[in-house]
Amino acid sequence: MNTNSNTYTFLYASVMVLIVAAVLSFTALQLKPRQNKNREIEKKQDILKAVGVTSTPADAEKLYDQYIVKAFTVSAEGNVKSEDKEEAFKVDLKKEGSKDLKERNLPVFVFNKEGVGEKMILPVRGKGMWGPIWGYISMEKDGNTIFGATFAHKGETPGLGAEIATPAFQDQFVGKQIFDESGKFTSIILVKGTAKGNPHQFDAVSGGTVTSKGFEAMLLDNLGSYEKFLKSSK
């Protein structure tokens, strides 16, 4: 057969594309439920991690049900919108972030464990250098001091921007405060290497300037939308 004729080339390309498309869509459809389940479990693990509870994919759901005593959504005005735990879990932050501040559903997860006490966990989501970055920040009951934090990213540069997902970066947020002495919302501001000891600043990732700036904007925007809720819960 002449493998260089036009007819053969066209046929070859068409058949190849059809086969590859069929194989890929079949795999994607078959694996989708498992992948979604994995994502849900990961989300539960992340929420727990923000309060320092480490879990494995196997026990994450059990621990989540046990320690997250309630979850609800609030409006930017600080009023509770829905008390449904499942609904708060399912809020899509990407969609909420593109809405007007007034219309956003802001999820709050309440953690309670004997010996640790009650903490509020707030999700955050923003833009890194290559894609979305997100995380969970747990607050003390005063609605001001950070108790713990965990962050993740879709595809920041390994060794640079991706460092936001390491304990070394995340641990520096413990004890930081998002309101200043006079009660004004300040968020936490990015500095280079000198944040230690200052409750309103965090250290940028070296070599990850774009990610760090996006991170700072994420904190300002997300924590800012909880401002009224946090003030009223003090």
Partner: protein, 214 residues
Amino acid sequence: MSDKEPLFSAKNRKLLTNPLGSDNPITVQVLGICSALAVTAKLEPAIVLSISVMAVLALANVIVSLLRNTIPSRIRIIVQLVVVAALVILVDQILKAFAYDVSKQLSVFVGLIITNCIIMGRLEAFALGNRPWPAFLDGIGNAAGYGLILVIVAFFRELLGSGTLYGYKVIPDAVYAMGYDNNGLMILPPMALVVVGIIIWVQRSKDKSLIESN
């Protein structure tokens, strides 16, 4: 090729060992430099990427080698690209469903594999003209040679740039107390190029036959 040739004949063994030294994809063929710059700031991503490249390259080599007599030569690059892209997506989907933690670590690397020049280079230069088994060995060998350089570069960059190895601290605090500082330049991409350059220099001064004559 006669069917009696042993699986690991001297010729086939060379397919595995040559890319580690005198025919190294990065330092001699100068392929795949881009990812060598991107992922070698730390040792762990460098190792994970090397393993993923090995899986994709070996499989793609075998598939292209099986198809080699049917591929129309005018669209062969596109066919190779489709094979590689489909494999990478498959691997990514399967990892997301069955090994979620690994897939999170790989993150952007999966995409980087498609753009890795070594893969297209080996498909074009070897798999298109050889039987599946030698093509498979060639894939494993070249990916290993690639991984070797990545690990060497990442070793020096992580050690000198962050003072850690595989995420563990190796330079004691006492050394820092004496005034030692991590070299921030090491974490930035240009230093990967410099380290690769030094490796090429060392290799060529040891093996004079690699030096091109003008």
